[in-house]
Subunit: 562 residues, 2 copies
């Protein structure tokens, strides 16, 4: 095992089962399996629908959502816990599947270096999943950019629809952290080179097409949603949709393979669907609905994950994905670590290795609110205390005791070092939570209007006093009402580091104001994005990008992913 | 068969053999096959090298290059002829493979609609190959754009190398015909958003990484070439390479799967390697060297294709690809059509359906020069007269008689309608040409310098009187000499429609001047690009893009590709 990147070394040392074996274990018939190499495949949803189901529909189909306390630079290990928990259910003899997001290449080349779990709790083949995988993000990228080019070409070729180049909504995307593309001017060079206008690029995971792919039920729903996408507005302020341009067919054609979920495996041999990957701070942050629904239909226990904390991915899973997909989680795991608790309790990152029970307990204020947030949805939370090597027993015991005093289910998790074996207790607690039988309810009713929905999210989940619409937001709210788009769910783009829109406010801040500076209709996705604070839709690279450490060895194998 | 797009209808109606069967026919061992679905696969070059060869090395390994007369909007059917000729050799009992370029999505969405042959001479699965295929172009796109972002990030983060933002060579790429990205300004928005500078996007097939992928022998040669790429220059006019940025490993990692050739099949069951696809007017225009070399090692007859006419793809195949890969073609097919001959003979496109023997014979001036150009390389040309439905027997016979009088081998080809059966005579003529045993020689010696090489190409191939270096070209020539890059092969970027740099000069113009306006070093690829005329590295979309006709049907199958 290389000390530099043990995750990659562990993954490369593992003997993977053929994807046909994994598919058979999941109950996916051979005719619905489209192999991509020997250890990954797409599941052909059409062929699957046409096949005879191998599993009866009358068993248990439990859905577990994994979320976390507010992340810190110390790391929380949410994907790792998700994978390890699934492997623990497999060890307990339950037919289990895991549904995860696909990693984005931009952040991998920037800081992350990989996003497929860690240690002995990974989805594999780790290198493939972290690089191009089955090409879904590339398909989304070119579908989006083809659409953008068709829009600019329409303007160039006479602009029959009267599109106002100053009011375009569609932006081009790349799966690269490229800050130089945030603000650009395109169409320069004279009349044959397009119409000059201000523009900007987003990262692929922030695109509406990514959100659509993750919310569409099938290819026809995908096409319907793409047709409804608003690419911009006319000089008369009328919406211009993809249907107006008559290219929803071509864009859907570019996505016809991408909509099929990808099947891989965990290191514990649990079938895993890894599909779609909208960011959770700037988009809705859950893997595809098709993947989660497919996993749930095939297995007794499905473990899925939403990005960041209960304020971001989980809230969006429960209010957007679950609403569109009519999903009801049976339990919610909230991942916490002593290190993150200590940072929320005021310890500097450089001081984390020193035992500090008091700081860990002070940090439970953050965890407490995440747990209560989950209860606010009528769901039963289970705290997974994910052990890191330098955590002391005193710290771990203090946090578990704190949870016990308050009647919160909680368990240690040691999945990085021990895989599924390290989450057996956690799995048992989750299984016990299944029996509690909560009454799941969405947090807000979109019919009350966007301002009401925002206020409910801000006060109930973020601990804010109120919402303030600033900048473009008030005018956009009137625009949304004029078009009849003011009764859609809200997807808040907010920093993941704080319950507030200020990333430096750790712990459990209250009494703050949520500043919404823009409201952006995503009619194809079916929600309105509320932009708060400084959330950007295109990350940048750090001074020393992870790319500097990457390469191939003499045999052509990947090095430097982790 | 749909009258709207018969190519797609024919392809969709065909019963394809499993890719494992095709691989076995080609002699590719199972352990070297990486399936992508049921009918396409990548050939793992490392596994192949490690396996025991199933074919002895002492048989015939003939290489046939297919080129064409100067293309016209009437179409010449070069890929169709290439595929049909290979199927004809298969019918004659020869172990045959075909090596072709991958289609680019940008032009498919623009005008082309598909680029995998036509009628009963196609490579299949047609839809997959024309859409994302195995993701090679996407991998090149993100490798290139990650590199570009790393360069701009280096400048942003202190610019330790002293890169001059006004002298960057690397451009971002998309596989979209997007004229609005030709000239842009990036890095706007203040000090946190990058360094403002002029920039522009190219199409993926014009990128140096595409050229490198198509010329690299293996992944290590790939990494060596990427490391040598010149991304720009310092304020002191020193070259800045990828190696200086220390990211050749990361960029190679992103291409580690893309370097493996893709295996598919023709409608006649001939194994086909479809891999890489640099444009022939703005790049070197041949499929990958790895694909051609692999096909040749496995088969008795390999049929490959170079883009456009003898002045573009063929010249570059023979002077660049064959030089780097030490390949020697055994025969060259020059595809001609009565329609193209008539256009070169002065007939307007709208008048092509009327019989005009005289115009067809007048157009042979163009064909004649292509045939003589091939002889100039010491190779034996065979004219393939590709029949179109409205061609009359009188026209066809007149052209064949013209060829016979001059001692040129020639044969009718009816592969669109009849597949391999329609090229049996052509295959026999090509087989006869194998026995002529020409003495292949490159046209020029790069050691004579770039100006001498350019003059040789222009006078011997284009019929020009001389070369004029204009604009930036003289200064660039001095720059190339200063860096020791003036002894590399030359890749001329020139219109495909004329032997000259003026696309309206049809037939066989002579006495003209080749205007070279810029010389661009592509040190990783190993050549210098000479830009002539108005050749652009980013196409635009037409008024009615092919995308308008595309979509998926009720079963999710592609429609509108052709």
């Amino acid at each position: 095992m290389s000390s530099e990147n043990p995750d990659l070394a562990i993954a490369q040392a593992a003997t993977l089962e053929p994807i046909e074996t994994i598919a058979a274990r999941a109950g996916i018939p051979a005719e619905a399996l489209i192999p991509y190499g020997r250890t990954k495949a797409k599941v052909d949803l059409r062929a699957l629908a046409a096949s005879t189901p191998t599993r009866s529909g009358d068993g248990e189909h439990r859905l577990v959502l994994v979320t976390a306390m507010s992340p810190t630079p110390a790391g929380e290990g949410k994907s790792t816990t998700t994978v390890g928990l699934a492997d623990a259910f497999t060890l307990r003899g339950r037919r289990t599947m895991v549904a995860l997001r696909e990693p984005a290449l931009g952040p991998i080349m920037g800081i992350k270096g990989g996003a497929t779990g860690g240690g002995y709790a990974q989805v594999v083949p780790m290198e493939d999943i972290n690089l191009h995988f089955t090409g879904d993000f590339h398909a989304i990228q070119i579908a989006n950019n083809t659409l953008a080019a068709l829009v600019d070409n329409h303007i160039q070729q006479g602009n029959a629809l009267g599109i106002d180049p100053r009011r375009l909504q569609i932006k081009r995307v790349v799966d690269v952290n490229d800050r130089a593309l945030r603000h650009v001017v395109i169409g320069l060079g004279g009349p044959l080179q397009g119409v000059p206008r201000e523009d900007g690029f987003d990262i692929v995971v922030a695109s509406e097409i990514m959100a659509i792919l993750c919310l569409a039920r099938d290819i026809h729903d995908l096409q319907r949603r793409i047709a409804a996408m608003v690419v911009g507005f006319t000089y008369d302020r009328e919406a211009v949709t993809v249907a107006d341009l008559r290219v929803e067919g071509a864009i859907t054609l570019l996505l016809k393979d991408a909509i099929n979920p990808n099947l891989v495996q965990t290191l514990g041999g649990t079938p895993a669907l890894v599909h779609g990957g909208p960011f959770a701070n700037i988009a809705h942050g859950c893997n595809s609905l098709t993947a989660t629904a497919l996993a749930q239909s095939l297995s007794e226990v499905t473990v899925t994950e939403a990005g960041f904390g209960s304020d971001l991915g989980a809230e969006k899973f429960l209010d957007i994905t679950a609403r569109f997909g009519r999903l009801t989680p049976d339990a919610v795991v909230v991942v916490a670590t002593v290190r993150a608790l200590k940072m929320h309790g005021g310890v500097a990152r450089t001081e984390l290795d020193r035992e500090d029970v008091e700081a860990a307990l002070a940090g439970t204020a953050n965890l407490h609110r995440h747990v209560e947030n989950i209860r606010g949805f009528g769901l039963e939370p289970v705290i997974a205390l994910n052990r890191f090597p330098n955590d002391t027993d005193a710290e771990l015991e203090a946090v578990l005791a704190w949870a016990g005093e308050r009647g919160f289910r909680a368990a240690r998790s040691e999945v990085w070092a021990r895989g599924g074996e390290g989450a057996l207790d956690l799995a048992d607690q989750v299984a016990a939570a299944f029996e509690d039988g909560g009454a799941f309810r969405h947090l807000y009713d979109p019919c009350d209007g966007i301002e009401a929905s925002l206020t409910t999210i801000a006060t109930r989940i973020y601990g804010a006093d109120r919402v303030e619409l600033e900048g473009r937001a008030p005018a956009q709210l009137r625009m949304l009402a004029r078009h009849g788009w003011d009764r859609l769910p809200v997807c808040v783009a907010k920093t993941q580091y704080s319950f507030s829109d200020d990333p430096t406010l750790l712990g459990a801040p209250s009494g703050h104001v949520l500043h919404v500076r823009d409201l952006v209709p995503k009619i194809g996705a079916g929600f309105v994005v509320a932009l708060t604070g400084d959330i950007m839709t295109m990350p940048g690279l750090p001074r020393e990008p992870a790319a500097l450490r990457m390469g191939v060895d003499a045999e052509g194998n990947a090095v430097g992913l982790f």
